[in-house]
Amino acid sequence: MADGSVILEMRSITKDFPGVRALDDVSMKVHRETIHAICGENGAGKSTLMNVLSGVIPKGAFEGQILVEGEEMAFSGLKSSEAIGIVIIHQELALIPELSITENIFLGNELSSRLGIIERFEQEKTAKDLLARVGLTQNPRTQVKHLGVGQQQMVEIAKALSKDVKVLILDEPTSGLNEEDAANLLELLRTLKARGVTCIMISHKLNEIAEIADWVTVLRDGKAVADYPVEAGKVDEDRIIQSMVGRTLDNRYPTRTPKIGEKVFEVRDWRVEDPNVPGRLLAKDASFFLRAGEIVGFAGVMGAGRTELARSIFGRNFGVYKGGEIFIKGEPVSLRSVKAAISHGLSYLPEDRKLLGLNLLDSVATTITSANLKAIQNGPLLDVVTELKVAEEYRAMVGIKTPSVQYGVRTLSGGNQQKVVIAKWVFPEPDVLILDEPTRGIDVGAKYEIYKLMQRFANEGKAVMLISCELPELLGVCDRIYTLCEGRVTGCLDAAEATQEKLMRLMTTLSTTN
């Protein structure tokens, strides 16, 4: 059979979702006792690959083979992959805050007597050993909620070790951690490697990959475009970047000639603290400005703090404000509530459409007016007939396809729902329109229409701030692009000089040379 150093092999994995080929003939080998990094842009297929590997997408729902130590596997779910020793740790931690460390480690795999009673002391003893292996000294009876995020991540790993893990898959393991915890985690991965655990690490952070990876696989548009061994500490980041973004821009973006005016909005030295992790700053002295008629992009990997920065600026809707100033048309303003932000001419289209953008019980009309009820108020009462009229105007303007504005937003497709949310945020007639991932999860045609809308708003003299994970999109529609890395503004490029490579470098390195 195959060479003995290969612990896990994937052969020609292909997975289709309706309308999208998420994985396209991906083959890769993972060698025993290595740290294998998988990188790629958002949507490149990393998560799908991990779901295939861990049995979340069961055998039969995809094409291709998975071999562990030379034997073909047929996983039917998480349990069956764990039985073989493949354990996945997701980006969002899956611990129960109210339970103790021990209870969390054994959740779902409790050691119990024949009568079904949990063997508490056995569990605790094992938990103590496992904690020692991941370098935690906490009492195993401690409730998980009392642990920091970094320590919780360690508990997750201890939980994985309890399952006799051979291959540990970590999805963006450092994305929620501060620098010190992240360094500890990487150190632990090295220790685990020395003790015979193979790790597959999905990461955006090239510096981390450069530090510890022994092998790199790059996914792009569902294909494995690069797959080669590296020497930890001597990784060529540029080569990875090129593989990640090596895609040509085609005609997916409408053209326009920008008419850029005065500076209308400026943020100086903005600082926001993570509401859940005291001391962790999500925006570190961020400064930037927007001019009238300008579309300004904000690039950054997931967790760079773009959404947090935007929501904090938008009336301190998120995080703990730690300092910074906002100037609108040169005047300092204090936006302490969302209401104040809206009345100062800001609009923020949130990233999570279903949770933050819409009330799914509302109709198209009531959604469109919901951020600016003043406009349809007649004395103390709302004028519902006028509401229908303005809703119809905005429906026509942004091109929402619905039989009537009285229909529920729930009946609409994703792209149409997004247009409803756009209409909602254009209705207050903002001067500054912040769009957070406005094209996420919608199809190409709707995307094009949304780009055209953005350009139209810019041409009307509004400043548009576009947060996006897709570099081609930023390059395609923006006049200027800021890059963020771990809460810091690391660069600002004019669209003319920006390339995906340049952006990716600024997004993944903290040095502020620009």
Binding site: V338, P350, L358, N359, L361, G414
Partner: protein, 436 residues
């Protein structure tokens, strides 16, 4: 079919419970050999359930915003008792001071409970569970365990009618003229608004709705309102519309307008339907929470005063379990446990369903034990019917009555403020592929 829809205003589903109410009335009318729909019975039904109507209105808003108020019965009882205790059988404060103190207590209690929910973030369930115990204890405490006579003037608000006037009309026509006049003015106003709204839609939207459905609708409204006006006006001498029912009517108009036609009302639905999205739209969550609980306690105080006026005295057990009547009315009236859905009119119909069952069983001498069992089952059945009604691809009861195809339902479902996961599943599936 389409015409029926035009007449009734698009959405037939909201009439399900109204139809059930009519059915309940008809069945009891039949079972009691015509005792149900008599002037006397309807009048006493309305009067006896004043407190349920008033409490249910406040409760609707609390439930729509996503909380619940368990304290309303205790608060009502406490306020009623305080008005009696202050009066001290005529030797204490004058009656109007007693009323002001009662309402003042409502304001104070509302601010207190609103503070704990809105500022301190204690869930409404807990805040008001505490209030339920505190004020129940307080009633017994201030009453020293025995009933107290209430100011007799309260009787005007809680147990009186619009009198026969002018003299002689009753003898000649057999009706209470003021009631007929109020009914007639009411009908005129409602019909006027029907036509005004049609004209406005034409002016603003440029598409005037057809005239004939508006006429049919106006005639239907006039007939229904006319029937009940006559029923109320034609009872025993000097009985007609109860004063407390007039108060309830005014409140219904006030709160329907508040919930449907003001920014505050929109905010209540927005917070209950999608809290995070509401916050990002500039809605203050604490203010909205505060208002709903604050308002609830004021209505509870009013309900307590009117109930005390009706019985003429305040007893330590007054208000016991009233919160449950109010909550049941809200849910029978179509509100969602998860918040964001429900209307004042639906809630009033829910309260009337409960009241009619109460009254009907009472006429049949069923006893309070059996009445309670049946009311419990009706609550379960009503909500189950609602959930069943909204399940995927199944025509609703009303839909079937009008021969609707299951497919039409889904569109409509989402059109209105109703909830359940099934709807989401039903709709998201066909909606995705047809994206632009």
């Amino acid at each position: 079919m389409n015409y029926v829809k035009q007449v009734l205003g698009g959405d037939l589903r909201k009439y399900t419970m109204a139809l059930i109410l009519l059915l309940v009335l008809a069945i009891f009318h039949f079972l009691t050999n015509g005792l149900m729909l008599t002037s006397q019975n309807i009048v006493s039904l309305l009067m006896a359930n004043t407190y349920v109507f008033i409490l249910a209105m406040g409760m609707l808003m609390v439930i729509v915003v996503g909380h619940i108020d368990l304290s309303v019965g205790s608060v009502a009882g406490f306020v009623g008792m305080m008005s009696a205790v202050m009066y001290k059988g005529g030797t204490g404060a004058p009656w109007w001071v007693c009323i002001l103190i009662g309402l003042g207590i409502g304001v104070g209690v509302g601010a207190w409970q609103g503070f704990w929910l809105a500022k301190m973030g204690i869930p409404g369930f807990i805040t008001t569970l505490a209030g339920m115990m505190v004020f129940r204890g307080a009633v017994i405490w201030v009453a020293e365990g025995r009933p107290r006579p209430a100011p007799p003037e309260l009787k005007t608000f809680g147990y009186d009618y619009i009198r026969d006037w002018p003299p002689g009309v009753r003898e000649h026509l057999g009706v209470n003229l003021p009631t007929i006049l109020i009914g007639a003015v009411g009908i005129l106003i409602v019909v006027f608004f029907q036509f005004r709204s049609r004209a406005k839609i034409g002016r603003v939207l440029g598409e005037t709705p057809d005239l004939s459905p508006v006429i049919v609708r106006s005639v239907l409204i006039a007939l229904i309102m006319g029937f009940f006006t006559y029923l109320l006006a034609s009872g025993r001498e000097n009985t007609s519309v109860p004063i407390p029912t007039l108060i309830v009517l005014v409140l219904v108009i006030l709160y329907s307008t508040l919930t449907q036609r003001t920014p505050l009302g929109r905010h209540i639905y927005a917070v209950g339907g999608a809290k995070a999205a509401a916050a990002l739209s500039g809605v203050s969550i604490p203010k909205t929470y505060f208002f709903t609980l604050f308002n609830m306690s004021i209505l509870a105080a009013l309900a307590g005063l009117l109930a005390t006026g009706r019985t003429g005295s305040a007893a330590p057990a007054d208000g016991n379990m009233w919160e449950l009547d109010a909550i049941a009315s809200v849910f029978i009236g179509g509100a969602a446990v998860t918040g964001g859905i429900g209307t004042i009119s639906g809630t009033m119909i829910g309260a009337l369903v409960m009241a009619s069952i109460n009254s009907g069983l009472n006429l049949m001498h069923a006893g309070s034990d059996k009445t309670m069992v049946i009311k419990g089952l009706v609550l379960l059945a009503a909500v189950a019917l609602d959930v069943f009604n909204k399940q995927q691809g199944r025509a609703s009861i009303t839909g079937r009555l009008f021969g609707k195809k299951p497919g039409e339902e889904i569109q409509e479902l989402t059109d209105q403020k109703k909830d359940t996961k099934e709807v989401e599943e039903a709709v998201s599936a066909p909606a995705t592929p047809q994206s632009s």
